[in-house]
Each structure stands twice: as structure tokens, then as C-alpha cells.
């Protein structure tokens, strides 16, 4: 069945079936490796995606959202406190793929907050309070900003502590700042030379992951 000419391969498998057998083995090894590596990679990926940070929004693109933040409940809570909220819905190319982009803005006196969301999943939160240059924030203003800062972490005390700690240090310094807290992009901006302006805090889930 097999002709014996030329140098003899010592491997019995190769000797008997030649390239066909080699390819078959290679395919088998590749398949097993693929499944193994894929499984390991997937497990590592789930582990990476877990934790307290932002998760991918349930949309077609790579936007990140704040997991478990119930936008309607937040808006209701604010409205019960006397805030007036209004919703802007953007109709853009997302309409084509069935997604919607909303922006909810709530204000009471000089206290403002804005939620950017995709299909009801919050992507970023902004809060601002009026402030005067050289004058520290009132306790109530700090409380308001702090409430917004810990919104992504209502059931994660350690991360919430990190966020509120960062905020109070920034407020004590009275300076602009930026920080990555558990994958969220926190930034605070103080007014420039203008006289009647605001301190703005932004919490952004951003693109995150591979695109950060």
C-alpha cells in the first residue's frame, strides 16, 4: 500500500499517511487549541468586563453605560424633590438601527443635572452648581455634587468612597481635575475668569475597554 522510497520518516504516523495525516493532526490540534484558547480568553474577558466599572450598552456600537442605573427612578426621585426635568430626544443615524439617544435635564434653582442615555441606559451624568470665584461651595452644593458622583456605585461602598473622596479633595482644592475611578472618567471644571458661572462635574462611562 505504501511504497518505500527515499529517506524513511521515523514517525509512524507520518510514515504511513504522509501529508494527509499531518494536516488532519494539525487541524485537530488547531481545533482543540482554538476552543481552549477561546474559552480561556472568554473567561478572562468576562472577568475583565465584570467589577464595578461601566459595561457595554445593549446597543450595536461600543458605547459604555452605567450598569443598573435606573434612569426613570432617578428622574422620579429628582422630580419628587421639586426638580423640573425635560427630555430631549435626538433623531439621528441611530434611528436607522432602532436606537434612541436621550438627554434628560433637571434643574432646581441653580442646581442642574443632565443624563445622557442610549435606549434608557445612562452613558454619562453631568451636574453643575453656581459658584463665585474664590468662594467655597455651600454644604448643600457639595452634597448635590457628591450624590451625582456616587450614582454609578450605589451598591458598591468601596468605589463610592473612592468617588466621593476624590470629589471632596477636588472641592477642597478648588481646582480642575480628572480621574479614572473604576473605569469611569470623572472630571470637574471650575469657572475661568467669568464672574457668574458654575462648577461642573461629569461622570462618563465613555467608550472604555479596548477603545479607551
Amino acid at each position: 500500500m505504501v511504497s518505500h522510497s527515499g529517506p524513511e520518516p521515523t514517525d509512524p504516523v507520518l510514515r504511513r499517511h504522509g501529508w494527509h495525516r499531518t494536516l488532519l493532526v494539525a487541524l485537530l490540534v488547531a481545533g482543540l487549541t482554538l476552543v481552549g484558547a477561546g474559552g480561556a480568553g472568554f473567561a478572562a474577558g468576562r472577568l475583565l468586563a465584570g467589577g464595578d466599572g461601566p459595561v457595554r450598552c445593549a446597543t450595536w456600537d461600543f458605547s459604555r453605560c452605567i450598569p443598573g442605573l435606573d434612569l426613570e427612578a432617578v428622574l422620579e426621585t429628582l422630580a419628587e424633590r421639586g426638580f423640573e426635568c425635560e427630555r430631549l430626544e435626538w433623531e439621528g443615524f441611530r434611528e436607522l438601527v432602532g436606537d434612541s439617544t436621550e438627554s434628560d435635564q433637571c434643574s432646581l434653582g441653580g442646581y442642574r443635572t443632565r443624563f445622557e442615555s442610549l435606549d434608557g441606559q445612562v452613558r454619562s451624568v453631568t451636574a453643575s452648581v453656581p459658584v463665585l470665584p474664590g468662594v467655597s461651595l455651600t454644604q448643600r452644593q457639595a452634597t448635590f455634587l457628591s450624590w451625582v458622583a456616587v450614582l454609578p456605585f450605589s451598591d458598591q461602598p468601596v468605589s463610592a468612597e473612592a468617588a466621593s473622596g476624590w470629589l471632596s479633595r477636588q472641592l477642597a482644592d478648588g481646582r480642575d481635575g480628572r480621574a479614572d475611578i473604576d473605569g469611569y472618567d470623572y472630571s470637574i471644571r471650575y469657572p475661568g475668569q467669568g464672574r457668574r458661572t458654575v462648577v461642573a462635574l461629569e461622570v462618563d462611562a465613555g467608550l472604555g475597554g479596548w477603545f479607551r
Binding site: 520518516p9 514517525d11 482554538l34 484558547a37 474577558g45 468586563a49 434653582g109 452634597t143
Partner: protein
């Protein structure tokens, strides 16, 4: 024999297998990792929101603390002002304008409010002629500070008085058409000046919740 495959060397065969394994490792690992991080496994359960802290902003942050419309008007009446309600646009705060009786309208106070116990602002305006050296404007402003900051701690009232005194005296400190702002206690004080070619100027002091 027909259909006979060429026989590879042992080394070449192992290289092919190793290469296939490497490619599968990289492709599988990367694919798995990306899938693992990017895959959305359903929306996470909505979390319960913690209760709002007691000092979270409430509707009172729009109003001068501890002040009623009748308190303001009676205080102004005691200083010789006469108040009357003005009509406003629907949705806008109610207004009362109080003019100094016999003062030729040079000193006036305006009260913005939503209801009797919800005073948004007390705004005092004073028209000062270039040759006027009296303390008419300063006194009017100090009176409005006295009324609006009645419930503030003494230190805040003192601070507001000093601030008003400083800016009411030093016209040049405030750039024409601009304004200066400060905060005393829970009250924001804004002073602005608009001056005319002949040296006359209108001063305005706006007191509202910071």
C-alpha cells in the same frame, strides 16, 4: 500505488502542526477575550437608589430663607416706600415694585416672589446723579441687605454690609455694564452699574438665594 501522498519529513510535519496550534491559540484567545468583554449578557438588574440626603436641594433653594412678602413690604413701608403689584407674564414670578415716596423714583425696590412665603429676589435700584454726594444709594442698599439677610448669621450680615459699602462707594471698581458678585451666608449679592455720558449712573443690587 496511485494517489500516494508525498512523505514529509518529521520536522516539517511537526512545524505545520505547531504553526496551526499557534495560529489557533492567538485567534482563539483574542476572539474569546473580545467576545468576553464586549458581549452583553442581558441588562443588569436596576439597583435601588439610596434615599436623598436631608440637605439635598429642595424647592427652598430658590427662595430667600425665612422671608415673606408682607415682611418685606412692611419693612419697606417703614422706610418710606410705597409698593404696588405689577402684572407679569404667565409663568413668571409675581412682582411688586416699591418706590420711595417723594423720592422722584430715584430709589426703587422690586420684589420677585412665587407666593407669600416664597420670595425669589429683592432688587434695589438707585439712580445717582453725577453731582450727588449723599448716601441715598448706600443707605437704600444697606436697608435691603438688612431686610433680605435678616435670618442669616451675624457674620454673614456683617460681611454683606461691608461688601455693599465697598462697592457702593467705589464706582470705578465695577466696570461699566458689568457686575460684581459675592455670597454672604446663603445669599448671593450682585451689584451692577450702568453709567451715562453725563456721569449719572444707575446702581442695582440684586439679592437672591445663592
Amino acid at each position: 500505488m496511485t494517489g500516494q501522498a508525498p512523505r514529509p519529513s518529521r520536522l516539517a510535519g511537526r512545524l505545520v502542526i505547531a504553526a496551526a496550534a499557534m495560529v489557533a491559540l492567538v485567534v482563539g484567545g483574542t476572539g474569546g477575550l473580545v467576545l468576553g468583554t464586549e458581549l452583553v449578557l442581558g441588562s443588569p438588574e436596576p439597583r435601588d437608589l439610596p434615599d436623598l440626603p436631608p440637605d439635598f436641594p429642595d424647592p427652598s433653594v430658590q427662595y430667600l430663607p425665612g422671608l415673606t412678602v408682607s415682611e418685606v413690604t412692611s419693612s419697606l413701608a417703614g422706610l418710606g416706600f410705597e409698593c404696588e403689584e405689577l402684572s407679569t407674564w404667565p409663568g413668571a414670578p409675581d412682582l411688586q415694585e416699591c418706590l420711595e415716596a417723594g423720592g422722584g423714583g430715584r430709589l426703587s425696590a422690586r420684589i420677585e416672589y412665587d407666593s407669600e412665603s416664597a420670595v425669589r429676589a429683592l432688587i434695589t435700584s438707585c439712580y445717582r446723579r453725577a453731582e450727588d454726594t449723599t448716601r441715598r444709594c448706600e443707605d437704600g442698599f444697606q436697608s435691603s441687605v438688612h431686610i433680605a439677610l435678616a435670618s442669616q448669621p451675624p457674620a454673614a450680615r456683617e460681611q454683606a454690609r461691608d461688601w455693599v459699602e465697598r462697592y457702593a462707594e467705589e464706582v470705578a471698581v465695577i466696570r461699566d455694564g458689568s457686575e460684581v458678585v459675592t455670597r454672604a451666608g446663603e445669599i448671593a449679592l450682585t451689584m451692577s452699574v450702568v453709567s451715562f455720558d453725563d456721569g449719572d449712573a444707575v446702581y442695582k443690587l440684586d439679592l437672591r438665594r445663592a
